[in-house]
């Protein structure tokens, strides 16, 4: 987070200095800077790819260790064309959506209750902490014994992963609503309902959203774990299967898709979060 902030501030400084000069110059300058950055970024893949290609061609890089880049690309295209990749990705995405929705809903309800009422917090917090302390990965064998290896297992494991950060951030967000805001509400003689809808909920939204974002990231990670352990479809299964068959190209393609989906979902939520943070109110 902190690094994002510094970067945006630095970018802001550049804008300020360039705004003093000719605007067209500034924009061409910026375009030039972008191209230069892209050029630097391309150095690494170009070097890696050339080593990879020459290694594969001369044969010192055996195919069992790393298949040719063209093979990986072909596998990717083939899996895209046959719809295989789409099917597995859809299965995984659907699991995450169900699990995340369930975990986030329950988590929000519990987090809100814990944030609003000290009593609820006192009763629930220790048990919650104990559950949260044990990572999702550790719950999987236990959940497998209780729930079998069907769809329920995956949904429950994913839901638990989303549940924990949502509860923590929701309760903290509500608890930390600025007392000044509450005083204003008091002065205006708001009813409890009004206080909740007009003050507490809006003020805690940024924090709730942070919880949702972490929840989604954790859901995605635990999806991969649970699919690695017990699954007959989905991206994690594709990984295990490729591993068993020694199809490294399949393994690499699956990793690529897992990274891509994780990246995209986080990016989307980060953009939304930034919008929400803009109207974050700390003081009156």
């Amino acid at each position: 987070m902190a690094s994002d902030v510094t970067i945006s501030r630095v970018a802001g400084d550049i804008d300020v200095t360039s705004a003093g000069g000719d605007t067209s110059l500034a924009s061409s300058d910026r375009a030039w800077r972008g191209i230069a950055r892209l050029g630097w970024t391309l150095v690494f893949p170009v070097v890696v790819l050339s080593i990879w290609i020459s290694g594969a061609n001369t044969g010192w890089l055996p195919e069992q260790i790393l298949p040719r880049p063209t093979d990986v690309l072909n596998t990717l295209l083939e899996m895209l064309r046959s719809g295989e990749l789409k099917t597995h990705t859809a299965v995984s995405l659907l699991r995450v959506i169900y699990g995340f929705a369930a975990g986030a809903t329950v988590g929000f309800a519990l987090g809100a209750a814990m944030g609003l009422s000290r009593t609820v917090d006192d009763y629930v917090r220790p048990l919650f902490t104990a559950i949260a302390q044990v990572p999702a990965l550790a719950w999987i064998p236990l959940a497998m014994l209780l729930l079998g290896i069907g769809e329920t297992l995956k949904i429950v494991v994913i839901a638990k992963a989303a549940f924990v950060p949502v509860v923590m951030n929701t309760s903290a967000g509500i608890r930390n609503v600025s007392p000044q805001l509450l005083e204003v509400a008091e002065t205006l003689q708001f009813s409890t309902w009004q206080k909740l809808c007009l003050v507490v909920l809006p003020a805690s939204i940024p924090s709730v959203f942070t919880g949702l974002r972490y929840g989604l990231t954790h859901s995605w990670i635990s999806l991969v774990s649970v699919e690695l352990v017990a699954s007959s479809e989905g991206l994690g299964y594709l990984l295990v299967w490729g591993r068993q068959m020694f199809w490294l190209d399949t393994v690499l393609v699956s990793m690529l898709v897992i990274g891509l989906v994780g990246f995209l979902s986080d990016k989307v939520l980060a953009v939304v979060e930034q919008h929400l943070q803009q109207w974050k109110v700390d003081h009156v």
Partner: protein, 262 residues
Amino acid sequence: MSDAAFGPEAATSKRLRRGLVLPLALLLLWEATSHSGLVNPQFLPPLEKVGTTAWRELTSGELLFDLLASLRRDLSGFAIGTGLGGAIGILLGLSSIADRIFTAWFNGLKQIALLAWIPLISIWFGFDQAAKVVFIALAAAIPVILNVVEGIRGASRKDVEVGEIFKFTRPQFIVLIYLPSALPSILTGIHLALIYSWLATIGAEYFMAVGPGIGGLIIAGRERFEMDMVLLGIVVLGGVGFAIDRLATLLEDRIIPWRRVA
């Protein structure tokens, strides 16, 4: 608010009592269900059975053996990962060329869920200790790199100017300016690395289930439908994770006590 009248101590004990209600109720429910004969005791063994299993494993030394194997693995991976991660982080933080070449790719690779690396690593390194340590090292390196870079970038402009006035050499800059100002961030990275490498140890032991270890213990318990073993494993695993986290926090507070205030 009414608690205030009884003083903070009364309030704490009240909170403690309330906090115990749910866990105790759950345990009671569990005990009652497992004795009622409604469920297969294999799935829900009575508490005393879990207790005796724990005692047996503890006294026979097997649990300790597995735990030590896991910890040794954890620490080797952690040490390698933190060392390499620190070096990479310093390079990325200090050299703008390295930063421009690698940072975008590092951020991209970071997006791949850690466990998704296991199949690839196991193809390259097998299922043995080496593969596990490589995976744990990877898990430890990522937070270290991120935090070291952030810490070095965060070095205050004023400090750097002082260094320039003194005409510091490059190594002097690193030792006297960048590292001290990056220290809190570096410690955060190491703290996270400790947590991640413990998680990775469990993950590695699940998926590359060769050799002793707590993860292997849990998996074996699951395969043999021994719920008491699984539960014992989970408790140990959670406990060790908790202890590692507490220990790291204590050390951090010791080394940089000023941060708590800041």
